[in-house]
Subunit: 101 residues, 2 copies
């Protein structure tokens, strides 16, 4: 296991009117996760990166955290510090954003 | 856990002369994995998709399989059936391609 946690953030972009996570918001989420991880000196052990469609389009913006395989939906930039603090550092699922997929 | 196995294939593209996995080859690998999985009727339980840089650029084309977090390097199109058969179906690491990262 190269990383303690590996976070994949959907940056897929489907054509309107299909609901999807969206390239722009996904890229902003990746940047927000990376900034938060770097500020905490965790960027070598926890990686956040863009991915293609995670098959949770209706609940986007979607994020999945491995190795647990926890899916999160409707993730906003303001949620990133809590996801990092509680889940990525504290190993506790953020229930209000977790998807039952 | 939405998928029994979730395969992320780097499709990142860095500017030459940096070594990297490459967008074109990565996209072809994604297509090859999907075709192999669909042929076996596994596309609902095992997902293959593109991702950003997996931080294994020197060993690319790179692939990571979760939930195990097994990294593979120098993955060619001809390796896809073996990776699907042995690892994704059989839960056995394909040692000749596995990266010690």
């Amino acid at each position: 296991m190269k990383f303690q946690k590996h976070v994949f953030i959907c940056t897929n972009q489907k054509e309107a009117p299909k609901k999807c996570c969206g390239a722009e918001h996904g890229a902003a989420l990746v940047a927000a996760f990376r900034q938060e991880l770097t500020q905490r000196g965790l960027q070598k052990s926890i990686r956040a990166q863009p991915s293609g469609c995670l098959d949770a389009c209706a609940f986007g913006p979607a994020v999945v955290v491995y190795p647990e395989g926890t899916y999160y939906g409707n993730v906003q930039l303001a949620d990133v510090p809590e996801l990092v603090e509680k889940h990525l550092v504290g190993n506790e699922v953020v229930e209000r954003l977790a998807l039952d997929v």
